[in-house]
Symmetry: D2
């Protein structure tokens, strides 16, 4: 007996990626597909790469259309998942439905931070779907609510995690620059996201600590043991569709060697199926994780600068959103965590 | 009991794609991996996206290293498969090994055409691995030798096939312009294939009927019923890694309508799992087939020009090389033709 | 005494390119800059590359704001230049103002063709700004109205011109596939023009003779001597911001050799400053013309197909729009035709 | 009377860019063009975008071929300029020739640092061609030897300069991540620079303080007043041909506001023609400086992180190499510093 899944926001990038992965998931039956303004159209108009679903009708995103499924994915704009989640919860048996929010609404534990960065009322906090964080996997078992982490926080957290948990850095004065493909900005058309603006161009945005992923980063660093976390985070937009590559540096504990650092990473991720620590001297390249749920990571010492330098990459739509969501779903449903997911990228 | 497979040329693009697909194939065990100058290195140096094979040692391409497998893929430079194939054939039981050549050596039936275009002696002709060509699927059953078609001929042939087999065009004065990503040119470094030369740039090459895929195209058109095939074929290099998009036009039989044309395509491909005919008015985009074995195709009438215009796209490394090869392998081994292959692309 | 120039539509791609070139033009003073919804903003918000104009205020596009200049460039959406041109003409001295329309409104001579393709009433016909067409340069001298050709017609016409004027082809059954960067589609945000949709993707659009540049092509072929012009034209969108590369084939007169063809091109363009015929065997690459007013072209024979194959490339925003416009402006104003323009591209 | 210029290394990217700019320089006559293995070919084979020089013959790089010019540009691989410079100096009047080295050989003042990073003997130290550094412009007047700065150091130094010279930061614990297009890696073909490897991919390299530009950065920071400079520098390769975008952060002096920072940048660069400080809230995008000699820069405060964050972008081949070289040449020759250079980029 397979689990039935509905997807709200099926015409966007996150929704499309959820569906791409679910089509290859052996324990899932794809149920209703819903959207806002695209309701009434064929899915094939919006997601031509999902050939088996080309003739599916897009339904309006209503509580009725989402009802009666074992799992509901919400791939909606930030701030809009809250009300839909409430409607689901209010339905008969709504608390038994596994609701997975790919948006930001339920990620933050601090209502204050939520309001500071999102300017709306805090909807609540759900179990955080990053199984590689110590303790988190347990919290996801049998949960019926999952908040999918942001793509930058997933990348940055997994890139720094071993250094934090093994005490090589203390999580203070972390500096991050992360280059992202433009699919992370979504499918709503804006002039600055036009191809003609992005080809042959790198740019920075959200400079000066104002990006909404900053409080999520600090929340994660604290959970990983940082007593006084602080981070300077600068996102870059670079000319590609998918992928994030994060450069994460932090002051390193005196006496730590490059070998110590690499060994710590190998040890921390020895049992993690989706995190691949590269050999010393080989650095991650985002092309290699496209379409996969893998994270490629490596780290070394910059002795003269007194900093640990770690580099990590993942597919923002897959491990950074939909793949990570399905990994957490598998845990919540009691399935093998890797079901329907791959570590193998589509390259070149 | 799974089939064991060796791959010669495992560090290149075609070899890498064969391995990417075989890693997801449930009936296959991956055996020896061989290469030329890279022998002795870790595969992870060359194919970092193939995480499960990262620590595999690359062996030299010798008859010994390829021996003892059920299937051998040759992903070697054009003109070099012939001698390796001979060595395999000369081994004990060598005629029972399924040898699949991803190169050009065994595609052409005419030794004269081979010598005209490749300037070497003709190695022979093997069953042609394009199952969607009428009659071809039968020839692949139980064969122990498969010549994988060229990526441009696969695209062009499948883009024009319904028009030829259903008599809408006669295969004379076909004009093709096909835009390809640069992975089709292989991984051997040449100045004109550098990223800096290709970013933001479209170019034509092999202009004037001199591209080596021309005789293969004419061979296919003839098999599809063209009494006097002729083709003007111009390949373009465009700034992307994967994908071919072919525009194929041909003088159309008088009286044929746009609806006739679309209906002929729908009918011809109704039972083909990997060929997806788009609805009228929707045109193929190469992004949608990346990583998949799908072909997206559509066709219409240009009434004023008196031509049928068809557009098709596929992933040159997947359906155009490695995916097509595995599809044919499945047939030859008696497996379901679609095993280990998907119609779903990685987009955006 | 310099000529004063106003630009309507200064925030778009065509308007930005007009300004980029005018900033380097020694005989021009840049006057009012106008736009629609962006009126009231700094130009630097929209065109950060035009540093010397960063603090210029964008004015509303009104007849008043365009009045009092020697030259007015209209870089407006198709169908909207007509009314603005009428307002200018109605002003005192309006007939002495040089009005240059970068849009389509005044390109076509046939009102019927206009209405068929643009679905609105025909605004009229102005001298056609393609000086390289025989006789056209004379018509541009002292004119006060110029219709700038479409970017595809400029590319295609100049790619085929020598073959037509020297009788190597008769302009019947011409087949064109032209790959374009996405700046040609303008700056109005649409989902299909997002970077995430275009990276790594080639696509066809306007297939089947429905593109609005078809009647303009046929008009040009007829002027170049084609008794019964016909064309199958397919535009492609490829992942780059600027540049068009056109592959143009046509049935060749029997007996013509590759050498004849190349010689005809060299001869036809011997005195054309902006058209560069490459040596035999070297084919145009769009990167080499970025930012320049040059056209790179070459042609040869496909003997087996019985077709001449010509390839040409230019920068759609420069020679294909703004550069061509300024070239024609120079002629109309009695300046040296090459003033403020370069044949040198920005590559790689 | 124009100055005559020879260019050694005319077939590479730096040499090509020097020539592109010199072709538009009113005080220059282009003399001999030399190269290594390409000697004897047409320049048009290598630099098709330089139409006016297409038929120039490439000469071998010898002292004889470089003799007799007023200016010699060396655009040669690192470590090879030294011997050529010696040969020029040994010629009669060789000390009166203005020799401009686009390579690294003469940038560093410390022989020890040179040998540590370049593993060869130090060739010497020439006046450093970064006129925007206080005091540097004076040193370039009438000099006959110029060391052109590295592209990353130019970007990073100009991005941090106002903060250092005005005491907002002290140059300790600077963290830099800089995304570069691949032309910076040159034209010698290597597998990792192939287009197929770079499309859709971001990667880090030279991680951990090992990049050769680190000692040059520290040398610059010290000259700008840093008592104990230290830097963590991580270069990224992103999918574009041209441009560098640097994110530079450093611990900020307590009490400094975002407004202080922006005002310091505006003040520091008020008289610098080529450095454009964007308005608060607008961040640099590399597309806007392509082909220009401009630097776009902005900076703000990350109060929570206690860091100043500055972002700068320039064209690595132009302001970062050839344009900067010509700017310095102008100063050395007593010409207006801006001659032949533009602040206007080619965008989109």
């Amino acid at each position: 007996m397979k689990f039935t899944v509905a997807v709200a926001g099926c015409t966007g990038y996150a929704g499309g990626e959820v569906l791409r992965l679910l089509l290859g998931h052996p324990e899932i039956t794809i149920g209703n597909l819903t959207a806002g303004s695209s309701a009434g159209t064929r899915l094939g108009e919006h997601q031509p790469h999902l050939v088996p679903l080309a003739d599916r009708q897009v339904l309006p995103t209503t509580a009725e259309n989402l009802a009666g499924h074992d799992v509901v994915f919400l791939a909606l704009p930030h701030g809009t998942s809250g009300p839909v989640a409430e409607q689901i919860a209010a339905q008969q048996g709504g608390d038994k439905v596994l609701v997975i929010d790919c948006g930001a609404d339920f990620r933050l534990e601090s209502a204050e931070q939520w309001t500071k960065y999102y300017k709306t009322e805090h909807a609540g906090t759900w179990p955080y779907g990053l199984p590689e964080m110590p303790g988190q996997r347990e919290l996801l078992k049998n949960t019926r609510r999952i908040a999918v982490p942001g793509c930058y926080p997933t990348t940055t957290t997994l890139t720094l995690l071993p250094a934090l948990t093994q005490g090589l850095v203390d999580g203070h004065d972390v500096v991050v620059a992360a280059a992202s493909g433009s699919s992370g900005a979504g499918k709503a058309p804006k002039p600055n996201l036009l191809g003609a603006e992005l080809f042959g161009s790198a740019s920075a945005y959200g400079v000066g600590g104002v990006h909404r992923h900053v409080p999520e980063l600090l929340q994660n660093f604290a959970k990983l043991g940082a007593p006084e976390p602080s981070v300077s985070f600068t996102p870059l937009l670079v000319p590609m569709a998918r992928g994030i590559l994060a450069v994460v540096t932090a002051p390193v504990r005196p006496g730590v060697t490059a070998e110590d650092i690499h060994a710590a990473y190998v040890k921390a991720y020895a049992d993690e199926h989706f995190v691949h620590v590269l050999p010393q001297g080989q650095w991650p390249q985002s092309q290699h994780i496209v379409g996969s749920n893998a994270v490629h990571v490596n780290a070394t010492l910059d002795a003269d600068a007194g900093r640990l330098v770690a580099v990590g990459t993942l597919d923002n739509l897959c491990k950074g959103t939909a793949g990570g969501a399905i990994q957490s779903m598998n845990i919540a449903l009691g399935l093998d965590e890797t079901t329907g997911l791959t570590t193998i990228g589509v390259a070149p």
